[in-house]
């Protein structure tokens, strides 16, 4: 049974996992949500170099509460992914290999996931205090002015995820 994936060594393994499978990830992920994605797309469409490489990276759709002293981050559960649907292809073209969020996405997203082989992972909405304890470190790496919506680099340990849409197009939300 698949338990944990180390993102530094085995990020490629994410492609192999089927929808509905629960496991944990350890390693580096970036956070970005509505405002940051809008800026990323503006850079991309304007042919401007973004001051951060997203090649071979994972984006977690999340904006945290402020960190208390002595803690790397505040509460940090996922936001609803469908709001980033229109920006997904841009991030995949920039080299993103997986996204993490919650909830269903538009039908067209399944095609993109299959084309770019970039699975959509889910984590638990509302378990924000619980997930905070899976974050070892957090630092803002882009768009600092966006505050909670800034792009952060997180190092996570045993962060629980489940594959929502896999690279074969299987979708956990397809209900009988």
């Amino acid at each position: 049974m698949l338990l944990s994936i180390n993102l530094d060594n085995n990020i490629e393994d994410l492609k192999k996992i089927k929808a509905g499978t629960s496991f944990k990830i350890t390693g580096k992920i970036y956070t970005a949500r509505d405002a940051a994605h809008k800026k990323i797309k503006e850079y991309f469409d304007g042919n401007k170099q973004i001051p951060l490489s997203f090649k071979n990276s994972i984006i977690y759709y999340m904006g945290p509460t402020p960190a208390r002293e002595g803690y790397p981050i505040g509460s940090c559960g996922p936001t609803s992914s469908y709001r980033m649907d229109d920006y997904l292809e841009t991030t995949l073209k920039l080299g993103v290999v997986a996204t993490i969020g919650k909830g269903e996405r538009k039908k067209a997203i399944v095609k993109l996931i299959k084309k770019y082989k970039a699975p959509y992972l889910l984590t638990i909405g509302g378990a924000a205090a619980y997930l905070a304890e899976c974050v070892i470190s957090s630092k803002i790496v882009l768009f600092k002015e966006l505050q909670t919506e800034a792009v952060r680099e997180l190092i996570v340990k045993d962060f629980p995820v489940i594959v929502g849409i896999d690279v074969y197009g299987n979708n956990i939300f397809n209900r009988v």
Partner: protein
């Protein structure tokens, strides 16, 4: 004439918004615990409910709020007409209390000044304040930090009277089911029926404040709540939309008189972090 100083109001509002963001109401906790047992046939759902329980136990330690979306600050103010407010302007006091809560309570600043240009206000203001004048000399303040993942799954329809009870039930049930996992189920649904275009949604939001274990006094609406509740749960959407028998923790209906030509119906979707706290001064 009872005097209440705005400095007291400011302090109480700060306490309420912090409390609401860290401590889940007892009636909601109870439903989550019950759900763990209900999901024996769905191990994933059972696991999620267990984690949700761990989450609220963790947040009660006052380090991490229940959810990273600490919401837009909604305030229900019930002012007895015999009260005299001393000090400053009551609205300023409420806003200051909220600002302090979101700073001192390590809560997220989630408000943009303009809905189209969208620059963060960096203090979670402005709030939305609903004021009612009551008889007497009590001041009741209810803090409702409302997250928008759930808020976005809410809806209003100006229904025709002939659509009737069945039409209302179908509108709500179909709407909630079509949201799937996006609103972060399990959900609590507040329903407002009647009033006018803006009153039905207001009733729907107020309905979210009714304790889940408090029965509707009116048997007709009690039955209707149960039917909506059962039909949503029969969808088997489950927690987070991963499948399960618990999609909805409760449905509460508030009604008001309305026009002979109308039947406004609104439902306010709330996730399992149904957060509110109140005080009577």
């Amino acid at each position: 004439m009872k005097e209440i100083h705005t400095s007291r109001i400011e302090k109480e509002v700060e306490k309420l918004f912090i409390e609401a963001n860290y401590i889940l109401p007892d009636d909601v906790k109870k439903k989550i615990i019950e759900s763990i047992d209900k999901e024996n046939k769905h191990p994933l759902a059972k696991n999620i409910f267990t984690i949700i329980k761990e989450n609220y136990e963790k947040s009660e330690k006052m380090i991490f709020p229940l959810c990273q979306d600490t919401g837009m600050a909604i305030v229900f103010l019930e002012i007895g007409q015999d009260i005299v407010i001393k000090g400053g302007y009551i609205i300023d006091a409420i806003n200051e209390g909220i600002k302090n809560a979101y700073n001192n309570g390590f809560l997220r600043k989630s408000i943009v000044a303009d809905p189209i240009n969208r620059e963060n206000t960096d203090n979670n203001l402005p709030a939305i304040i609903h004021t009612e004048i009551k008889k007497g000399d009590k001041l009741k303040i209810t803090a409702v930090p409302k997250g928008f993942g759930s808020e976005n799954q809410s809806a209003l329809r100006m229904m025709v009277p002939s659509e009737g009870r069945e039409g209302i039930i179908n509108f709500i049930v179909n709407g909630v089911i079509s949201s799937g996992g996006k609103g972060c189920p399990p959900c609590i649904i507040g329903v407002g029926i009647g009033g006018d275009f803006e009153y039905a949604p207001l009733l729907a939001k107020k309905a979210l404040l009714i304790p889940l274990d408090q029965e509707n006094n009116d048997p007709f609406y009690r039955e209707m709540e149960k039917e909506i509740f059962d039909k949503i749960n029969q969808s088997n959407i489950g927690s987070q939309g991963f499948g399960g028998s618990v999609t909805c923790l409760g449905v509460k209906i508030l009604t008001y008189s309305t026009h002979i030509a109308g039947m406004p119906v609104a439902y306010n979707y709330c996730c399992h972090s149904c957060r509110h706290a109140s005080i009577v001064i």
